[in-house]
């Protein structure tokens, strides 16, 4: 090769060309795939919300099975009767409330700005479900989920997900055996909104006691577990006024 790759001019030129080529390649790819990715994310949110209220294709014990993406849109409109947005004490309806990014809303609240908090009201077999989103921090990055409660504020179903918790440890918060433990638990302790704590050694590994506001922790995932506890506690307190209103009805 006659190319003198040691020259500074060449180095700078090479760097520039590389940046342009790689940058445009990635930008082209990102724009091209964006509609498909957004659609996938929309379906996923619908699947998660439906999962929390028990509309899923789970069989016995085992793995998490959502409503398939091909059907989820129509199933979502069938089961979710109302989508509310709570903003500064006022409640309005919004059919795209499920697209609200909870992280942005929580950031807004932190800075003292008004936030838009979504609530989804689902109905299945004549029973009403109130589903709220949650957002918090795990060990490495964000964790989030949805919790469905009835009028007595007893958990009817829950769904957790995470960005990048450790596989085999913290990542197991999205496993059936962990999420199913929350069903039947109460988010109230007397009149206090304590949520549900993930605790180690609560002498109830099978989770038969449903009024202790506790579920058994995952071994090796203490910080993710603490993150889950904090997330549930903060989320139910955020929706306190709403919960009070459905309890008094």
């Amino acid at each position: 090769m006659a190319l003198n790759t040691e020259k500074n001019v060449y180095t700078v030129l090479f760097a520039c060309i590389m940046v342009i080529v790689v940058g445009s390649l990635l930008a082209y790819l990102a724009t091209g795939l964006k509609p498909r990715i957004e659609e996938n994310e929309r379906f996923e949110k619908q699947q998660n919300i439906l999962y929390a209220m028990g509309v899923n294709e789970n069989e016995g014990e085992g793995s998490v099975n959502f409503i398939p993406t091909t059907e989820v849109e129509s199933v979502f409109t069938d089961y979710i009767k109302e989508q509310l947005v709570i903003s500064g004490g006022e409640i309005t309806t919004d059919d795209e409330a499920y697209l609200i990014d909870m992280k942005k809303q929580l950031d807004a609240l932190k800075r003292g700005n008004p936030a838009r908090l979504p609530v989804f009201i689902g109905e299945k077999d004549g029973k009403k479900y109130h589903i709220i989103p949650m957002h918090g921090k795990g060990l490495w990055d964000a964790i989030w989920g949805f919790v469905a409660v009835d009028e007595q504020l007893i958990v009817q179903g829950i769904y957790f997900d995470h960005k990048q918790e450790t596989p085999g440890l913290g990542a197991n918060i999205k496993m059936r055996y962990f999420m199913d433990d929350f069903i039947g638990e109460q988010i109230l302790d007397g009149e206090r909104y304590v949520g549900i704590a993930v605790v180690k050694g609560n002498n109830d590994p099978l989770n038969n006691i449903k009024d202790d506001n506790e579920v058994d922790a995952l071994a090796g995932a203490t910080i993710t577990g603490n993150g889950v506890s904090a997330m549930i506690r903060e989320s139910v307190n955020l929706y306190r006024n709403y919960f009070e209103s459905i309890r008094s009805n």
């Binding site: 090769m1 190319l3 790759t5 040691e6 060449y10 180095t11 090479f14 760097a15 590389m18 790689v22 390649l25 990635l26 790819l29 990102a30 795939l33 498909r36 990715i37 996938n40 379906f43 996923e44 793995s63 993406t69 960005k163 990048q164 918790e165 450790t166 596989p167 085999g168 440890l169 990542a171 590994p205 099978l206 071994a219 090796g220």
Partner: protein, 215 residues
């Protein structure tokens, strides 16, 4: 194996045993510790690295005469990062479920020292076909260790393999657990991986004494 000459075959087979990236070159230890609590995660990681290292080695090898020496590390990093992002985006659009499982590995692949190590040590000095074989060989060697470690950690730590309860149910006390066997919780935390990798290194060197360093 008529397709490959003897030298080429060695490029694939050497990293599987006597020149294993993890146990001999001691590269890629970080991800071997981080994600081997489950067999499934080990397999996914092994396949991802196979792809990135195979393609990355070819790309670097094709560019080897053009890359300015002063910024070669940055160029290598960009190639890995670009490949990983492309894979991630395509999966997000066409195999969303799979991409969610993989998302946690993306950062680990970019920073995996095996990839940079092979770019630097091999792809920069060899042709694309050889570089491709070297990439495949090294990622297979890496994957084998990951799967061995994942196998023992999941089996001893959780009593499962690929999530299936092979030893019985620890809560309902069936199978092996009926006789008083307990899962070893230590196996699912990262230090256990270090010990398993250490045992593999020890075992390998006691079988082949030529591998033992002089001092």
């Amino acid at each position: 194996m008529a397709l490959l000459s003897k030298k080429d075959t060695n490029l694939i087979l050497d990293p599987l045993a006597d020149n294993n990236p993890i146990t001999i070159q001691v590269l890629g230890i970080c991800s071997a510790l981080a994600i081997t609590a489950e067999l499934k995660a080990s397999v996914v990681m092994a396949i991802s690295v196979l792809f990135v290292l195979g393609v990355g080695n070819v790309v670097i090898s094709l560019m080897r005469n053009m890359i300015p020496n002063k910024i070669r590390i940055i160029v290598q990093l960009i190639v890995v990062a670009t490949l990983v992002i492309i894979v991630d985006q395509v999966l997000k659009a066409f195999a969303y479920e799979l991409s969610k499982t993989l998302s946690v590995f993306v950062g680990l692949i970019i920073t995996n020292c095996i990839i940079m190590g092979r770019f630097e040590a091999f792809a920069l000095g060899n042709g694309p076909w050889k570089a491709f074989l070297d990439g495949i060989g090294n990622s297979l060697g890496y994957g084998v260790i990951l799967i061995i470690v994942g196998f023992f950690r999941e089996l001893l730590g959780s009593g499962t393999l690929f999530g299936f309860k092979v030893l019985g149910d620890p809560v309902a006390k069936t199978g092996l657990y009926a006789s008083g066997y307990e899962n070893n919780g230590f196996m699912i935390i990262p230090p256990a991986a270090l010990i398993v990798v250490g045992i593999i290194i020890w075992f390998q060197r006691s079988k082949n004494r030529a591998l033992i360093e002089e001092n």
